[in-house]
């Protein structure tokens, strides 16, 4: 079997068809995951009764099981729950109205949430206690102090890790092909199988992923410089 370099380009172009799906899955899961993660981090830091053990269990379970497993559990489990509820409540719909990509959104958001909660938690804990005290001393409430003082600083600290997570989710989005969502990896497989040129198609997919990853890295570096400009003086 010899390599057909020309076909790499052909495959590369055809992959762009699937680019939106990959981007949607990545962006939705990271965005929702960040919100879940922040909420979980705050619940765990403030040890909010009732929610605290639930949040801990969530992080423990999700980080203890593979991402593919989450997708499969949601894909096979969620319809049963939804259909059961819908028929019990007499609602006029069933799980078939959920688009396949919806399962990827839901399950990957749950996955990302657990990982990001630890990133955000570390970020918040890294902010000196004195910042919170200063905020209290000028009369702020806890939510005001978190929103205006602690979280912005925490965010600056966890940015490198968040970008790490973003890259992880971008690459993880390839798992969506197991529930028949045509993202870049699945598209590469389709192109490969129809032309019987597997290596070329996968090289093209790899190059595309690498390119996107480089973009994310560049964007993070830029954002980091911007956000961290307050540290330029060098004094702690």
């Amino acid at each position: 079997m010899s390599l057909d370099p020309g076909f790499i380009w052909t495959a590369f172009l055809s992959l762009f068809k699937a680019l939106p799906n990959t981007l949607y899955i990545t962006i939705v899961s990271v965005f929702v995951g960040f919100i879940i993660g922040t909420a979980i981090a705050l619940i765990r830091i403030y040890r909010i009764p009732v929610l605290y053990p639930l949040a801990s269990a969530y992080v423990l379970f999700i980080r203890g099981t593979p991402m593919l497993m989450h997708l499969l559990l949601i894909y096979f489990g969620l319809p049963i729950i939804i259909d059961g509820l819908a028929s019990a409540l007499g609602l006029g719909f069933n799980s078939t109205v959920i688009p396949l990509i919806g399962f990827a959104y839901i399950s990957f958001s749950i996955t990302a949430g657990a990982y990001m909660s630890e990133v955000v938690r570390a970020g918040i804990l890294s902010v000196n206690r004195g910042q919170m005290e200063a905020a209290y001393s000028i009369g702020m409430t806890t939510p005001q102090a978190l929103r205006r003082i602690v979280l912005p600083q925490a965010l600056a600290v966890c940015l490198p890790n968040l970008s790490n997570n973003l890259i992880g989710m971008l690459h993880g989005s390839t798992l969506a092909f197991t529930v028949s969502v045509v993202e870049i990896n699945a598209q590469a497989q389709i192109v490969a199988a129809t032309n019987w040129k597997f290596l070329e198609a996968y090289i093209a997919a790899a190059v595309l992923f690498w390119g996107m990853t480089i973009l994310i890295e560049q964007a993070t570096a830029w954002l980091e410089r911007r956000i961290n400009k307050y540290n330029r003086g060098g004094v702690a």
Binding site: N128, E133, G139
Partner: protein, 250 residues
């Protein structure tokens, strides 16, 4: 006027404050002295509810609060009546000097932006930092940071400003500029409670000196009395160690 009644506080088995009573008149500058571990910083932090006393009452102006029954609203209310200047400055790291001072005015006092900016600029001018409005804390020296901290407290126009060892973290060289600023605002009749080890400052600026040890107030009075002829043995010991008689005195 500020009145503290029977403030008690323990950290585990360690009783840090034992039923402290203290009255501070309006416009007074009170300096709290004492060896480390005597509870002076804890007492100061209780006034701002950064530490929750186990027992006791506080009155600031017309606002009264019992620490045992205080709810969130009371705490919030209490905190708005005082402002704190911290040993380690605790400036908001991600905000410029001006933004640091404006923050409380905008978010807590809900002033319009122009008004907050005007007042904050004025305060920073007062502490001699008119040229540093847009500097981040990391770009300022310790003395400058602490002066921003003072401006931040001052801008809120609180009934009392609490100073928690405001010069302890500074290079000796920079202590003077901070003390000068505190001295200046003390002259303007702002009520202040200052925890410090600067004896000279206490002697010059205080109207009232409180000596604490082991979680109780051992002795209090005018600086001339407390420094001149302390009554309690413990006070004498402390003053001697901290400010020994110059060898040339006769």
């Amino acid at each position: 006027m500020i009145e503290l009644k029977q403030i008690s506080k323990s950290f585990g088995k360690n009783q840090v404050l034992q039923s402290i009573d203290l009255t501070v008149e309006k416009g007074e500058v009170v300096v709290i002295l004492g060896p480390s571990g005597s509870g002076k910083t804890t007492l100061l932090r209780c006034i701002n509810y950064l530490e929750k006393p186990d027992n006791g009452q506080i009155r600031i102006g017309d606002f009264k609060l019992d620490f045992k029954t205080a709810g969130k609203k009371d705490i919030h209310n209490l905190r708005q009546r005082s402002a704190m200047v911290f040993q380690h400055y605790n400036l908001f790291k991600h905000k410029t000097a001006l933004e640091n001072v404006m923050e409380g005015l905008l978010i807590v006092q809900k002033l319009p932006k122009d008004e907050a900016r005007r007042r904050s600029t004025q305060m920073l001018e007062k502490v001699g930092l008119a040229a540093k409005l847009d500097a981040y804390p990391s770009e300022l020296s310790g003395g400058q940071q602490q002066r921003v901290g003072i401006a931040r407290a001052l801008a809120l126009n609180p009934e009392v400003i609490l100073f928690d060892e405001p010069t302890s973290a500074l290079d000796p060289e920079l202590v003077g500029e901070v003390l000068d600023v505190i001295r200046k605002i003390a002259g303007e009749g702002i009520t202040m409670i200052v925890v410090t080890h600067e004896m000279g400052f206490a002697r010059d600026v205080a109207n009232h000196v409180v000596f604490m040890d082991g979680g109780v107030i051992v002795e209090e009075g005018k600086p001339s009395e407390l420094f001149g002829k302390p009554k309690e043995e413990r006070t004498k010991q402390f003053l001697k160690r901290i400010a020994p008689e110059p060898s040339y005195s006769i």
